[in-house]
Amino acid sequence: DAGITQSPRYKITETGRQVTLMCHQTWSHSYMFWYRQDLGHGLRLIYYSAAADITDKGEVPDGYVVSRSKTENFPLTLESATRSQTSVYFCASSEIAKNIQYFGAGTRLSVL
């Protein structure tokens, strides 16, 4: 199916474990983004990528790692999960100079 998909939709893990959230888009968009959504904070940018092998930090990058070896995939890894990383995570993509971002359905992560 065309679009942007995130997996898993729901994840429960324990503190200290490594977790990887997947994001896949079929449009060949250059830009991809990871946000976390928390009550009272709206969406905050974690990391973004302008192209394959080009990534940069956003507003709240601590505790997260990203990679982008292929244009269509942009996984987000929590190297050692903490309770404060309990959140809803959204992936998005956009074309160069188009400014409109398209969002996945989100991953709800609970860290116990």
Binding site: L45, Y48, A50, D56, F90, A92, S94, I100, F103, G106
Partner: protein, 115 residues
Amino acid sequence: AQSVTQLDSQVPVFEEAPVELRCNYSSSVSVYLFWYVQYPNQGLQLLLKYLSGSTLVKGINGFEAEFNKSQTSFHLRKPSVHISDTAEYFCAVTPWGGGGNKLTFGTGTQLKVEL
């Protein structure tokens, strides 16, 4: 750097009544402005955008917004709401000609439409 303020965290309104959701922004450069809507358990989808031209922009589902540069506002309006408009609404900005397509979001306004 940019910032976005959505002063109303929740707005209750009766069905068929008009509604306005407020958005103010701060930026040292010119910006593009957006409203996104998030239905329960879904991702965000674009409602409307202001890039240039007419300051009154129309979006999907009967929503419209007006860009006011002097007041740095981009309020969202709908003349008559429906139950299905119950959702969270986010205002967002990105700077002209740069910023790497990054968006700065407000904290969101929960619109609750009641019978």
